[in-house]
Symmetry: C2
Subunit: 363 residues, 2 copies
Amino acid sequence: MTVKKYNHKQINKIVQYILKSNGLSEEDVRTVSNSLIAADLRGVNSHGILRLPIYVKRIKNGKIKFNPEIRHIKETNATLVLDGDHGLGQVVSQKAVNELIEKASNSNIAAVTVRNSNHYGAAAYWSSQLANENMIGLSVSNVEPLMPPPGGAAARVGNNPISFTIPAGEKPPIVLDMATSVVPLGKILNAQSKNESIPEGWAVNSNGNPTTDPNEVVNGGSLFPVGGPKGYGLSIVIDVLSALLSNGAVGEEIHSMYQEIDKHNNISHFFLGIKIEAFMEIAKFKTLVDQYIDYIKLTPLAQNTKEIYLPGEIEHLNYLSNQERGITVPDNLIAELIDLAKEFGLEQSLIEEYTKPQDELVK
Amino acid sequence: MTVKKYNHKQINKIVQYILKSNGLSEEDVRTVSNSLIAADLRGVNSHGILRLPIYVKRIKNGKIKFNPEIRHIKETNATLVLDGDHGLGQVVSQKAVNELIEKASNSNIAAVTVRNSNHYGAAAYWSSQLANENMIGLSVSNVEPLMPPPGGAAARVGNNPISFTIPAGEKPPIVLDMATSVVPLGKILNAQSKNESIPEGWAVNSNGNPTTDPNEVVNGGSLFPVGGPKGYGLSIVIDVLSALLSNGAVGEEIHSMYQEIDKHNNISHFFLGIKIEAFMEIAKFKTLVDQYIDYIKLTPLAQNTKEIYLPGEIEHLNYLSNQERGITVPDNLIAELIDLAKEFGLEQSLIEEYTKPQDELVK
């Protein structure tokens, strides 16, 4: 199989054209497109431009607002509750993170909780902005129910993502970005499409029993929380921080972005920033983080291991490499982007310019 | 096998006598003994009075200071770095949590990081004190290396515990308290003592390869992080929050409480408090939490399941039941307590009064 690689700046142009044609302001266009392209650069394609077609579909039917009126519901010097008014998750989250940086700069620690939002891309995109400001950043979001409580036969909590980013000195930052399920839903769908079974421990069927049949998972089953009660418990905490603190939606009030296209998504986010200078000189902290990274990297290797990686390090290496070599975009997604660009009247010569592969890899 | 149950108030008296005899102030005696007894009441015996003999051993050899000079290293209105001066973890943590409650009450969010401390009992004991003050409480601690990074053949990070407590209204609070390994070391030691094998996925041997032989784990092997890179990543974040932010010890600078008796333990903690009133009226929040708990509790049941539990709910039920029926204490631990009490001169009639079983269960 060959995989085509595309220049990320060119692809960004067609993404921006499509977003702009959907009524987004210049600033919001940049916010959304940069978040998607950043995920593709990091090799996290599941949270990259793959999501653009569903965003556009939802903007068209009004379930995502292209010009939301984001409201301050309650505010102190260190805290803020935002109502995202069903704007794009990135537009709402960028506003939240900007406010958070301002507040944490003054108050040393601050948090913003956000209701009535949408898919915000990769959780790490937001925690990393906080790290760029010399903070330890936390970013979490709830999603629709995808996992049962231990002993349950129906999904009740999302596989809610959690991301921490910790700034380093000479080294890349430490970036944890994980879902609270053993595997994401995409891996189940992938096995289903290939007619393969899945390993035990990934998911349960509609009776809440373990299954190795991906069809049983898709038809009323659900994902297994990582570590059973541990992943379940973390997801509950994320529901509370994002949706209860903001008086947003939980459980069945959250609607699947893909399967419930005629309803608002209604997800919530929570962001926390911890200003490092309040605890220690930032230069000293960064030196300590670098030393800690060295300590981990120098772990003796198990058989068949070539290198030990810190959380987020592989994505950082992808980022550096993909800036040169291009991002991976499947043919069907390129076709969708071209269709959308045509629909919104982008001229053919520019479509060709933006979607010209720069490399082809045998995979 | 029979298991004896003891009145927790009587056992607390002998625990307090022993602590007092070791030079602790009245206040510190109460802090430490209450934290241990609370764990036993919640059925978390691994973090209860089982730990008292090693505390005493370490106080005797000076590696735990019974009268630490806990110092403020750096402080703002919302943040504090403490040096625990190698005091008992509970003494240091109570000071930290008291300061945190004061700060978060004024600043809406606050955090305290602590270096040079010792085993602090159950992580949830501290997050729950914050919840009692109408805050969302976070409590984490690092411990000595017990888990390898993915692909590593040696332990580099602890199975660092993390606890969140969320206050509810009519319902008991939601209390997550988890280690970042698949199972605690105690389960490996237990299998070893019974000459049983352990399930695959619990631990690795000294080459970093999966093993089912507990002897291989104890002899240079290590625990497997829950969810592989997920548990590993969470442990790294906990190292950073507790030990890097406080300029405390990580990795080999941390010494096993049991195996390196002649060295300071050197662990670090981190506590965060989020004042709920800053986001929402507390009564409203508690109603939302109660409704959320109902929603989870009403999940359809899988086969062989009788009830769905929230994080911490089983421990809460234990707490209520054990207050009446007594806490479980193994015979050898009772014998140790009696020996210690005798050593410090407690008269025989009181020893007998404090250690009289109130119930005997066939298990």
